[in-house]
Each structure stands twice: as C-alpha cells, then as structure tokens.
C-alpha cells in the first residue's frame, strides 16, 4: 500500500502565502483583461487561472504531499479533460473546407450556424 505514514501538515504561513498569491493573481487577471492584447487576452487569463488552480491543488488540497497514487488520480482527471476538449476542438478548428456560403443563397439564411 501507500508508503506515506504520517500525514504532512502544511503550516499556516504557507497557507497565507498561497492566499496572498491567489489574491494577487485575481487582481492581475482583472487588470490584464482591461489591456487589449488581442487573442492573447484569453491565453493570459487562462494561464493565470491555471496557475491559481495549481496553487490550490498543491497546497490547499495537499496535492504536493499526497501519495503518488492520489497524484496519479488528479493527473488522470485533467488528462481526460484534455482529451475531451482537445479532440473536440480539433474537429471544429479544422472545419474550413466546407462549401462557400455565397453559393448557398437559395437556402434560408435563418438556418445558418457559424463555426
């Protein structure tokens, strides 16, 4: 079974540091959203969110001190999420070879969905 015996106790100092980092991250993400970075706004916002999430998992949720088996479970969860998002988005992002809309005047325009 798992090798860890005594559970690791994270000190309040660490918790406070993580709290501070999370608050700074929140402020930063709001600030960054107001600057026009084009398509990188979303990239930056998600990067900050991911960093915040990692902090929460590692320290608040003791992911850093958990047995390997638990860490594997966490990684598997995100891996599968990535499968779902990645493979679906690759379909949508490669759908440009479809017929050009201008040839389709005959068809009711209210039927159209953009992709």
């Amino acid at each position: 079974m798992a090798e860890h015996s005594a559970e690791h106790i994270v000190s309040p100092k660490t918790y406070a540091a993580v709290l501070t980092a999370l608050l700074i991250g929140t402020a930063l993400t709001v600030y960054a959203a107001k600057v026009d970075l084009g398509r990188f706004n979303i990239v930056l916002a998600l990067t900050i969110a991911t960093i915040k999430m990692t902090l929460v998992i590692l320290f608040f949720m003791h992911g850093k001190y958990s047995p390997r088996r638990t860490q594997l479970v966490i990684v598997a969860g995100f891996f599968w999420l990535a499968i779902m998002l990645g493979l679906t988005l690759q379909d949508y992002s490669t759908r440009h070879a479809e017929p050009s809309r201008s040839q389709l005047n005959e068809l009711p325009s209210s039927l159209l969905r953009r992709s």
Partner: protein
C-alpha cells in the same frame, strides 16, 4: 427487383465499385482471421478435451515472442484498411470542380430538391448519368440523412449546417434513396427515388413542365391557411391594411415616413411586423418568424404582387379597437 437474393445493392455510381472492392478486401482479411481463430479453437477443444476427471493442463504462462508477433503482424493490415478507407473517404469529401449542384432540404418527413434551374421536386431526384452531381443539403428541423445505397453514399443533413456530398451516377435506372438518420415518426417513409437518365433525356425532362406549381396560387392558399386574410381584409377595414395595390406603392407609416413596398418590405412585415407600422393601424400583428419558410415567403410575396393592380381601398380604414386580441 431481382428474384434471387442479392448480397449487395446495384453498383450505380463511381463510388459503388470503390466501396465494394474495399469491402471485399476487408472480408478476405477478416474471414482469414475468423477462420484461423475458429479452427484453432475447435482443434484445441477437440484435441485437448479432458480425458480423466482430475487431469490438469500443461502450465504454459505465455510467450513474449508470440505476443509481439500477433500485435505486430496484423498491424500492417490494419494500416492498409485504414489507408484505403481514408482514401475513398477523402475523395468523397472533396467535391470535384464543375458539378451539377442540386439543393436538398430535408424536413419532417419529406425531401425537397431543387435543380440548378430552379425546378423543384419532392422525394424525387433526376440526374444525368456520367455527370458529377453535388448535393448541397440543409435541414429545416431535425437531423436527417440522405442515403442512396446503390450509389454507396450518404450524408447527414444537419440544421444550422450545410453539408455536401457528391457522386457520379454510372448507370441509368431508378434507385431508392432513404432518410438514414432517425428523425421522428415517419422516418421510415421519408425516402424516394433517384432517377438516373441519359443526358439528353435529362435535358428533355428539365425542359418539360415547370416547377411545383404556380407560386401565386400557392401563396393565396397559404395566406388563407395562415389566416392572414382574417385581419388583412381587402377593403382595409380589418385590423391590418389591405393587400390591394400595395406592392410597388409608397406606404405611409405611423411615424410619418414613407417606404417603398417591395419584396424586402413584405418579408420584413411578415417576420418583424412591428418594425414598420402602417399609418392608421395598431402594432398587433404577431411575428411569423419560424412559422413560414423562406420559400413560403416567396410564394406569399408572389401573391401579394399579383394584387398590385387591384384598386386600393379609397381611404385607409381606421384600426379596429385592439381589445383582447393578439
């Protein structure tokens, strides 16, 4: 139909032999493996059947070489199946240039097809042999699927998307087409016939009778079906203005401006009745967005257009008191 039981449908398009050859290849490979496995199982169970009640088998735990062999050896065959299949599919999804374009609209539970010259058909499709045909398909309601087994082609018809498919008929004849994606109650009867004709026959057929009927007559019927004429009385005394002489005239609006009553104006008045209110009338008409199709709007417009020489009511009627109506 043939009296004996066929194992595959007729080959009537360029894709039919391609798909059939592919299926022969897979059949041969799969039959080989199925035979090997079944033969081995039968041979083993006969040969190594239990002879005495307390006998046990030879403890063989496995063989790495064998495992590697039966992972690695069939793999090229899988790749071949994949590659060949993908080649056919990519060909099918890439329409060649210079096609005969036919529009297909699926709705519960019928197919409306339209030839390039505008001629419409219901549950019937006429195409010339030897010509690349492209179907451009949309759906008015749920997902359908246009499938012609003898051509070995099918494609989903999805609302909100346009899907296309193409084929080149290679044999004159009449072939079933089906709706292949379950679409509700009468899914099973949402089909019809594709008629493949010699090109000159096709040309003759096209030159024959006109489309599905006189749009004016269709529009008139639709108008009463939708109960438009219960408000839009010819004398203008109803809750809505009269159609007589409207088309092409300058209409006075409630806000004092005027607008030319053209196709777009009529279309808008049907779909967004409250966008422009005719002077003297109340904004009481409901929107017909979603209730009428584009095609029907065309028919309605045609009918209203036919009334443009009718004398308009001498003076606009006063709007009936809008109490408790919709």
């Amino acid at each position: 139909m043939q009296s004996q039981m066929p194992l595959s449908p007729e080959q009537a398009s360029n894709f039919a032999p391609q798909v059939d050859n592919l299926v022969y290849f897979l059949l041969v490979v799969c039959l080989f493996f199925a035979t090997v496995i079944c033969a081995a199982v039968i041979y083993f169970i006969v040969k190594y059947r239990r002879k005495t009640p307390d006998e046990i088998g030879v403890p063989i735990h496995g063989d790495l070489r064998l495992e590697i062999a039966w992972i690695a050896l069939p793999f090229p065959l899988l790749l071949a199946m994949f590659g060949w299949g993908a080649a056919v599919y990519v060909d099918y999804r890439h329409t060649p240039a210079d096609t005969l374009d036919i529009y297909v609209i699926g709705k519960q539970w019928m197919w409306k097809l339209q030839q390039p010259d505008g001629r419409k058909e219901i549950n019937e499709l006429h195409v010339p042999v030897g010509r690349n045909v492209r179907l451009i398909m949309g759906s008015e309601d749920v997902i359908h699927d246009f499938s012609v087994p003898s051509f070995r082609v099918k494609m989903d018809v999805v609302p909100g998307h346009y899907n296309t498919m193409w084929f080149r008929p290679t044999k004159v004849g009449k072939y079933h087409f089906f709706c292949s994606q379950y679409c509700g109650t009468d899914h099973a009867v949402m089909g019809g016939w594709v008629t493949v004709m010699e090109p000159d026959e096709y040309a003759k057929w096209l030159a024959g009778s006109s489309g599905s009927g006189d749009p004016v007559a269709v529009g008139q019927k639709l108008l009463s079906d939708l109960a438009c004429n219960t408000c839009h009385l010819p004398d203008g005394k109803g809750r809505g203005p009269s159609y007589n002489g409207v088309y092409g005239s300058q209409v006075k609006l409630a806000d004092g401006s005027t607008v030319l009553a053209d196709d777009n104006y009529i279309r808008e008045s049907i779909l967004q009745p409250n966008a422009k209110i005719v002077a003297g009338y109340a904004p009481v008409m409901p929107s017909f967005q979603g209730l009428v199709t584009e095609e029907q709007i065309v028919d309605l417009t045609a009918y209203i257009k036919s009334l443009k020489d009718q004398p308009p009511p001498t003076k606009p009627g006063t709007a009936a008191p809008a109490t408790g109506n919709k």
